[in-house]
């Protein structure tokens, strides 16, 4: 099982749309995929039309040593299941702080699913907290969608600055440019000259596109309803590149 986390300290950078589209593309490869919507806002759950509710909330989930089928919901795509969001996830940090070995909590829970899924994709909340540390520790890959703007790049640098070896562990960092508007000089310039420090940005990027925004109306991955669109094709290229990095 490979755990891929869509993560950024900053919100609104395309984490959820990436998580949902990559989950769908992985499923097309014949893989069994679980999306864990860790963001209390529950956008990934919304896209999959699943109610953002976990029985007993995060407290009960954390009491268990494994995730049972009671918590997981099947989506409309046979190969994809989801562990939905819950409003109680906003207290996840407090719960983790108060628990023994908080860093390994998520990893332990995910381990119980290793025989059931090829990929687990975590849609992470925008923060830098104990939850994030637990996510880093549980992940094989940290996908970092980054808007090519100075502010976004600053948050990327913050991840690298604060996320030292102790915090990030062995997780593979894969930053990529997201919500790229090629009409903007600044976006173009930043893509042409990506940060030299830290892990290299992936070659694939995701454009800023109204097709992606329509996911909120369609409640489907863009790769389902607009397969030939530039946005969908970008996700396909991105997934291909990520797979090559996994190998």
């Amino acid at each position: 099982m490979i755990t891929i986390s869509c993560y950024n300290i900053k919100g609104g950078v395309g984490k959820t749309t990436t998580a949902v589209n990559l989950a769908y593309l992985a499923s097309l490869d014949g893989a069994k995929v679980l999306v864990w919507d860790l963001d209390p806002q529950g956008a990934a759950s919304f896209y999959f039309r699943v109610k953002p509710k976990v029985k007993g909330g995060v407290r009960r989930l954390f009491q268990k040593k494994s995730v049972t089928d009671n918590y997981i919901k099947g989506t409309d795509y046979g190969n994809i299941d989801i562990l939905p969001a819950d409003f109680s996830y906003r207290n996840m940090d407090i719960l983790l702080e108060g628990s023994k070995k908080p860093r390994s909590r998520l990893r332990k829970i995910l381990k119980s699913l290793s025989d059931d899924y090829d990929y687990v994709i975590l849609d992470c909340p925008p923060s830098f907290s104990m939850v994030s540390e637990s996510i880093f520790y549980a992940s094989d890959v940290l996908l970092i969608p980054t808007i090519p703007t100075p502010l976004s790049l600053r948050t990327f640098e913050q991840i690298l600055k604060y996320g030292d070896k102790k915090i990030l562990g062995n997780v593979k960092l894969l930053p990529f440019f997201s919500m790229v508007d090629r009409r903007k000089n600044m976006h173009r310039a930043m893509i042409e000259n990506p940060p030299k420090k830290g892990p290299a940005f992936l070659k694939s990027s995701i454009p800023y596109a109204s097709e992606v925004e329509r996911m909120g109306i369609k409640r489907e991955p863009v790769t389902v309803y607009a397969q030939s669109s530039a946005a969908a094709q970008s996700y396909i290229a991105l997934w291909k590149e990520i797979k090559s990095k996994l190998n």
Partner: protein, 520 residues
């Protein structure tokens, strides 16, 4: 997943209207799909109580693994193409489930049904599907391509996390629609209809012999069973479906030849001699393809034996093996389509099916099969023990090879005649012999591989398929084989001691020593 019978009087339109009146339903477009129930040639899934089917649709290959016992779905996945062998499966999760069941065998079609499907989705206020309801009209696909009506069923598929909704549908189908739940899967119904007996093939000889029966009669029965195995594996060998067809084919050929060579005085020489030659020929024409199969099956291990940075250097060897496998397979198919092969089988079957004559001059023909078995097994055991005891740390490799051949002959005899002896004791003896054979077999394989790697190096060079890196990698493997040979020889002493313990020797004597010898 549960299924319900739909009475013949219920029309599709009526069912649809009644379902829509009960639940928020979204109707999909009706479609016709073919479902292929698959298993390995030797029914490995069925024997473990599984049924497995694939359906090819526009969205890909839908694969379902379920329990044969209660039709419960255990695993479902959508793939881009149907897997043939476990190695084809990209999903690690699915591969982990299927690989231990399939081994190296391929999945082949066992039964096909044509389904006219009317799909319905039970949706909630967010238009999320909470259950799938399918009205399905099943028709069995016959060998001639025609179809035969089976059942009309309603199948309800659960979506994980929405089991409550499904229970509601079940309840309605039972109480409101008055439909009866079906316990038997379409697979079982179809097999019963077509009179298919799953699990009937076995590469093992399981013919039950009567101890007092005449030797010639019993041997004919055993050899006929062996011929059946050869013929059962012929099609799969020709089509190269998986490597086990040729393997089982060859084992049955070798068993036959070994029996004919070991047991004299039962069949006339004019029958024995040409058939020993004929089965020797069959062994020789199937050998080269099997060699390529073995190298290809071992290829991953070859790569793993090298350092990671050198593993890719072996790719030209893989290309060479694939190329030569194709050449050898083509030649094998050519040979299996000759009149020589056809006549061999025909005449051999005719002989085996001819009833034995009452009066015969052949000295052993009328002797009881138990007596014959005792004599030959005892002789073979004595030979193994004598040769085994003579093995020393420094004796030439040739002695180990001779012992390997003697063990093989003994193994065939034990397997041929196992029904004449207590099952548990035979199992114990065969197991202990098998362990010894594995050590000797590995030792032999390593010696053969050293020679054939050198031959292949020369051949690859001649065919322009060799690179300097590949040559280095192959030579590293040859070094690896040499070091393994040493450790394998060290293992021999333990496995031989385990086979030739005092307790075992007492058991051998008690079980197989012929009465005449016991009296002496």
């Amino acid at each position: 997943m549960s299924e319900f019978f739909v009475p013949g009087t219920v029309t599709i339109a009526e069912f649809k209207d009644r379902l829509k009146a009960q639940f928020p339903i979204m109707e999909g477009a009706a479609l016709t799909v073919e479902r292929h129930y698959q298993d390995t040639f030797d029914w490995r899934l069925y024997k473990k109580n599984y049924q497995y089917y694939i359906e090819n649709t526009l969205s890909g290959t839908h694969l379902t693994l379920s329990s044969l016992h209660d039709n419960r779905q255990l695993f479902a996945l959508l793939l881009s193409s149907p897997p043939v062998i476990a190695g084809d499966i990209q999903s690690v999760v699915l591969r982990k489930r299927l690989a231990p069941l399939l081994g190296i065998r391929a999945l082949v079609n066992k039964l096909s049904v044509q389904i006219r499907r009317y799909p319905f989705q039970y949706i909630d206020e967010d238009k999320k599907t909470r259950a799938y309801v399918y009205l399905e009209d099943y028709r069995l696909v016959l060998d001639n391509g025609k179809t035969q009506a089976l059942d009309k069923r309603v199948r309800v598929e659960t979506v994980k996390g929405y089991e409550k909704d499904v229970k509601q549908i079940y309840k309605t189908l039972k109480t409101e629609f008055k439909f009866n739940k079906v316990e038997q899967s379409i697979f079982k119904t179809g097999m019963e209809t077509l009179n298919i007996h799953p699990g009937e093939y076995s590469s093992q000889l399981d013919t039950q012999l009567a101890p007092g029966a005449r030797s010639d009669q019993s041997l004919k029965e055993m050899l006929l069973a062996s011929l059946d195995i050869i013929e059962a594996n012929e099609d799969g060998t020709i089509k190269d479906i998986d490597t086990e067809f040729l393997h089982d084919f060859r084992v049955a050929v070798r068993r036959t030849r070994s029996l004919l060579e070991q047991i004299e005085g039962v069949f006339p020489r004019r029958i024995l001699e040409p058939n020993i030659s004929a089965f020797k020929w069959l062994g020789s024409i199937t050998g080269p393809t099997r060699d390529m199969d073995v190298y290809l099956l071992k290829f991953d291990k070859y790569q793993q034996a090298l350092a990671k940075d050198k593993q890719a250097y072996l790719e030209p060897l893989h290309d060479y093996l694939i190329k030569h496998h194709r050449i050898e397979q083509k030649e094998l198919v050519k040979q299996l389509k000759t009149a020589r092969y056809r006549n061999l089988k025909k005449k051999w079957r005719e002989f085996l099916q001819t009833p034995v004559v009452e009066h015969t001059r052949l000295p052993i023909a009328k002797q009881s099969i138990k007596e014959t078995a005792d004599i030959h097994i005892w002789k073979a055991i004595k030979r193994v023990i004598k040769q085994g005891n003579a093995i020393t740390e420094k004796c030439p490799d040739e002695k180990l090879h001779r012992l390997r051949l003697s063990c093989k002959k003994l193994r065939y005899l034990l397997e041929f005649f196992q029904s004449l002896y207590p099952a548990s004791k035979m199992k114990r003896i065969i197991k202990s012999l098998k362990q010894l054979q594995e050590i000797l077999g590995d030792f032999q394989d390593l010696s053969v591989q050293i020679d054939s790697f050198h031959d292949m190096e020369i051949q690859m060079q001649a065919e322009g398929m060799m690179t300097a890196e590949t040559f280095v990698a192959m030579e590293l493997l040859v070094d690896h084989f040499h070091s393994q040979i040493k450790s394998q020889r060290a293992l021999f002493t333990d496995s031989y001691s385990a086979f030739s313990t005092k307790a075992n020797q007492v058991l051998f004597k008690k079980m197989f020593k012929p009465v005449k010898d016991k009296v002496e």
